[in-house]
C-alpha cells in the first residue's frame, strides 16, 4: 500500500499553515464571507492523521476521536474555566435524517463533527454527509451527500437506533458508512460520490453505525448485529484500490485459536455475535489497531453457549497491515448480562507505561499494557455494582470467575438464569457506559467517563437452537426497566487508578465527553450542554438546547476563534427500549440540529 513520503508531507504542512493563518488569501480575496471556497483544500494525508494532535492545536479535528489515540483532548484554550461562562450560541443549522424506517419511528444524531481548514463535516442518522463552511462567524452548507440508505432493509435490523457516528477524511475524500452496510467515498470539494463498496450485509442482519477509522491508507469498518445472530468482524478497505485488504472475524471458526472457548455442539461461527460497532484507536508506533468487541449471541442465555466465548466482550489488538490478532483482553467471560466491550480503548502514556484505557459496560474502568494486553488495574466507575464483588487485581477477571465452569454465574442472585423468572443487576444491561466516548486530559492525567448509573432486569427466554432464519432477534430473553436510571461524569486519576471525582446528573450520559486544558464538556438527553471544571468537576456553564443530546461535543478553530460544536437530535435506543427508567424523557421530541457555541 502506498505511503506518502516526507517531501509531500512537508509541503502539505506549509500549505496548511498558510491557509489557516488566512494571510495568503484574505488580502487578495476580500472579506472571506463573500467569497465561496474555490481553492482545493489540502489533502488529509496519513502523516497528518498520525500528527492529529498538532492539527488540534491549529484548530482542526480530522479523525473521529480527535486523534488516533482516542483521547478526545484539545489544547485550544480561548474557551477556558475563566471564560466559559461567556459561552453562547454562535449559530445553528437544521439538518435532515429525522424520518423513521424499519422498526424505528425516527432517526437521530450521534455523530462527532470533523473540522478541517474551517469546514465541518457531519453526518445525520441515515448517513447523509454535510460539508459546512464556518468562516465569517456563521454556517453555510456547501454540499450534502445523500447516500440513499435503504431505510426498510437496514432499519428492520438496526437493534438500537438509526444513527451514524461520523465521517472520516482521507486525501481529497470524505469517507463515510451507511446503515445498510456501505463504505462511501465522496469528493471533499464537490460532494459527488466517487465510489462505494458494500462492506456489511443486511441480509445477514448486519448494519453499520460507527464512523470509519483511517489507518494509513485504509478505512477500518466495524459491524453491528450481535442481537441478530451475526458473526462479528473488523474489515480494512484500501482507499486507493477500493479492495478489501483484510477481514478479521471476532468469533473463531473451527480450527482457529479460541474456538475451544465455545463448547457444546453449537456452531458459534454462525451466530456468535462479537459485533464491533464503535470506532477504535490506532498506535502508529507499533502499527497496532485496538478495537472493542461486543456481546456474544444469544445476549443473555449463556447456558446455550458454554465456555468463555472468545473474543466477545474483549479488547482486541490487531496488526494494521494484516489484521492478525496480536493480543486480547476479555472483560466478562461467558457473559449473561450483555456487557459489550465495544468501547474505545484510549491510548495514554503515564509513568513510563504505555496503556490502553477502556470503560466497560460492566461498570469497571480497565487499564492494560497496550503492547501486550497485560492487566494493570480496574476500578468501578459506577455507584453500584452487583453482578460481581470485584475484579481480581492479579488476573483482571471477575473474582467469581471459575475456569473449571463452562457456564459462569458470578453473583448468582443477580444473574439471569433459565430457572429464574428474572434477575436484577447493576449496572444495567445497557452498561455503566455505552458507546458515548470518554476523554483524557494528559496534563491532569484524568480520564472522564460518561456514566449511566443504572440497574435493570432481564428475563431469560431459553434458546432452543441456532436462528432458523436471518434478520430475526437472537437474544435469549429481554430487559425491562423497573427502577430509575441517572447519570454522571466520573473522573479516574490514571496515575492511581482511583475515582477522583463524580458530577452526578439527573439523566444518563448518552452523548460522551470532550476534554480541554481545564474543562470537560458533555450533554444531557434532557437538553443541556454543559462544561465542568476539569479538576473539580464543578459545573461552570450550561445551555439548554431543547433537544435530546446524544452526541459528543468537539472543538475547533476558524478565523482565529475557538468554537464548540455538538449535534443535537435524540438518537439511539434509549427512547424506544429504556425510556421507562427515565419517564420525564418521554416528552423529548426528535430533531436534527447542529449547535455551534462561541465566546
Amino acid at each position: 500500500m502506498s505511503y506518502h513520503g516526507r517531501t509531500f508531507a512537508l509541503l502539505a504542512g506549509v500549505a496548511l499553515a498558510s491557509l489557516i493563518s488566512g494571510s495568503a488569501f484574505a488580502a487578495d480575496a476580500g472579506p472571506v464571507a463573500d467569497k465561496p471556497m474555490s481553492v482545493k483544500s489540502p489533502d488529509v494525508t496519513s502523516d497528518r492523521l498520525a500528527n492529529a494532535q498538532q492539527e488540534m492545536a491549529q484548530g482542526n479535528w480530522i479523525t473521529h476521536h480527535g486523534e488516533l489515540s482516542g483521547q478526545r483532548y484539545s489544547p485550544l484554550d480561548q474557551i477556558n474555566k475563566d471564560t466559559v461562562k461567556g459561552l453562547h450560541v454562535a449559530w445553528t443549522m437544521q439538518l435532515g435524517g429525522v424520518e423513521g424506517g424499519g422498526i424505528w419511528t425516527h432517526g437521530g444524531l450521534e455523530g462527532t463533527p470533523l473540522a478541517e481548514n474551517g469546514y465541518l463535516y457531519v453526518t445525520d442518522g441515515w448517513g447523509s454527509v454535510y460539508k459546512i463552511d464556518t468562516r465569517g462567524g456563521k454556517g453555510t452548507l456547501m454540499w450534502k451527500m445523500d447516500p440513499k440508505t435503504d431505510h426498510d432493509w437496514a432499519g428492520a435490523v438496526a437493534c438500537c437506533g438509526v444513527d451514524n457516528r461520523g465521517a472520516a477524511l482521507y486525501q481529497g475524500l470524505v469517507i463515510s458508512h451507511t446503515l445498510d452496510g456501505r463504505l462511501v467515498a465522496t469528493d471533499k470539494d464537490t460532494g459527488q460520490v466517487k465510489w462505494q463498496r458494500q462492506v456489511a450485509n443486511p441480509d445477514k442482519g448486519e448494519v453499520v453505525t460507527g464512523a470509519p477509522l483511517i489507518v494509513k491508507n485504509m478505512a477500518i469498518t466495524g459491524v453491528a448485529g450481535a442481537e441478530y445472530g451475526i458473526r462479528g468482524w473488523i474489515a480494512a478497505t484500501d482507499l486507493d484500490t477500493q479492495k478489501e485488504v483484510w477481514r478479521t472475524f471476532t468469533i473463531p471458526a473451527k480450527g482457529e485459536a479460541g474456538v475451544e472457548t465455545w463448547k457444546g455442539d453449537k456452531s458459534a461461527e454462525v451466530a456468535g455475535g462479537g459485533s464491533t460497532w464503535v470506532t477504535g484507536s490506532y498506535d502508529p508506533k507499533s502499527n497496532t489497531i485496538v478495537w472493542g468487541v461486543g456481546n456474544p449471541g444469544p445476549d443473555w442465555d449463556n447456558a446455550f453457549r458454554p465456555g468463555d466465548n472468545l473474543y466477545t466482550d474483549s479488547s482486541l489488538a490487531v496488526d494494521a497491515d494484516t489484521g492478525k490478532i496480536k493480543w486480547h483482553f476479555q472483560h466478562t467471560p461467558n457473559d449473561p448480562y450483555d456487557y459489550d466491550s465495544v468501547s474505545e480503548n484510549v491510548m495514554v502514556d503515564v509513568d513510563g507505561k504505555q496503556l490502553a484505557l477502556h470503560a466497560n459496560r460492566n461498570g469497571f474502568g480497565y487499564a492494560v499494557d497496550r503492547n501486550n494486553g497485560a492487566f494493570q488495574w480496574a476500578t468501578p466507575f459506577v455507584k453500584k455494582v452487583t453482578w460481581t464483588k470485584g475484579i481480581d487485581p492479579k488476573t483482571g477477571l471477575p473474582v467469581e470467575y471459575d475456569a473449571k465452569k463452562d457456564v459462569q454465574v458470578y453473583q448468582v442472585a443477580n444473574t439471569p438464569t433459565r430457572d429464574k423468572a428474572y434477575a436484577d443487576f447493576c449496572p444495567g444491561n445497557m452498561g455503566g457506559k455505552n458507546w458515548p466516548p470518554t476523554s483524557y486530559n494528559p496534563e491532569l492525567k484524568l480520564w472522564y467517563i460518561p456514566v449511566i448509573e443504572s440497574c435493570n432486569r432481564v428475563t431469560i427466554a431459553e434458546t432452543k437452537g441456532l436462528p432458523a432464519k436471518s434478520r430475526e432477534f437472537f437474544t435469549g430473553g429481554g430487559p425491562s426497566q423497573p427502577v430509575r436510571i441517572t447519570g454522571s461524569v466520573t473522573a479516574i486519576d490514571v496515575t492511581t487508578g482511583k475515582v477522583a471525582g463524580k458530577f452526578e446528573t439527573k439523566f444518563p450520559n448518552l452523548g460522551g465527553t470532550l476534554a480541554t486544558k481545564d474543562l470537560v464538556f458533555s450533554g444531557e438527553p434532557s437538553g443541556e450542554v454543559y462544561a465542568l471544571d476539569g479538576k473539580t468537576l464543578q459545573k461552570l456553564w450550561g445551555f439548554n438546547t431543547g433537544g435530546g443530546v446524544s452526541a459528543p461535543p468537539m472543538t475547533f478553530m476558524v478565523d482565529g476563534k475557538q468554537y464548540v460544536a455538538i449535534l443535537v437530535g435524540m438518537g439511539g435506543a434509549w427512547d424506544k427500549w429504556f425510556i421507562d427508567a427515565t419517564p420525564e424523557l418521554k416528552t423529548m421530541q426528535p430533531g436534527s440540529t447542529l449547535y455551534v457555541f462561541a465566546l
Partner: protein, 174 residues
C-alpha cells in the same frame, strides 16, 4: 359487558362507507403508521429482543373483537400501548378498558401510550388487516413482503430463493 359496548360503538362509527380495497390499504398504512412494525415486525410474527417478546399475530388466537380491544386499550402490565386517546380518562363513559381509569394504571397495571393515537376507524382497519393478511398465515413469504414494502427496497431479498448470503452489490448513490 363493557367490551360489547365498546365494540358496538366502534362498529357503528367505522363500518359505513369504505369499499374493500380502500379499507385494506388503510389497514396496511395504519399498521405501518402506528409502528406495529416496531415490535410485531412487518410480518406480525413478533418475537424477542430488547423490548421483550411481542406476541405473534400469525399464531394469535384472538378474534376481531379482542384485537380491536387490545389495540384500543393496550395491555396493562405489558409493552402493548393503547391507541385511542381518551379511553382511560376519568370521564370516559363506562371505563371501557377493563374498567380502568387513569388512576388505576399504576404499578403492575401501567400501560404505555401509543406514539401516534388512532381514530376508531383506523383501529378497525388495522384489526381487519391483521385478520386478513397475518392471522393464521404460515411463514412470511416474498409475495407478502412485496405487498407490504413495494419493490424499491432490498428488504424482501431474503425471501427470494436465490439469495445465497453473498455480499449484495451496492445500489448507486447520487
Amino acid at each position: 359487558m363493557k367490551i360489547w359496548a365498546l365494540a358496538a360503538a366502534l362498529m357503528v362509527t367505522g363500518g359505513t362507507a369504505h369499499a374493500g380495497q380502500d379499507e385494506a390499504a388503510l389497514g396496511r398504512a395504519t399498521y405501518a403508521k402506528a409502528n406495529c412494525v416496531g415490535c410485531h415486525k412487518w410480518h406480525g410474527d413478533g418475537g424477542g429482543g430488547y423490548g421483550g417478546s411481542a406476541l405473534s399475530l400469525r399464531k394469535t388466537q384472538l378474534d376481531r373483537e379482542q384485537i380491536v380491544m387490545t389495540v384500543t386499550c393496550g395491555r396493562p402490565g405489558t409493552g402493548m400501548p393503547y391507541f385511542l386517546r381518551d379511553v382511560y380518562s376519568d370521564d370516559a363513559a363506562d371505563h371501557p378498558c377493563y374498567g380502568f381509569s387513569r388512576k388505576d394504571l399504576t404499578g403492575d397495571n401501567h400501560v404505555a401510550e401509543a406514539g401516534n393515537f388512532l381514530r376508531p376507524a383506523e383501529v378497525e382497519a388495522v384489526a381487519d388487516y391483521v385478520l386478513t393478511n397475518i392471522k393464521g398465515h404460515g411463514e412470511p413469504n416474498l409475495a407478502e413482503c412485496q405487498a407490504f414494502f413495494g419493490e424499491t427496497s432490498r428488504v424482501c431479498e431474503i425471501y427470494k430463493p436465490q439469495t445465497s448470503h453473498q455480499m449484495p452489490v451496492p445500489q448507486t448513490a447520487n
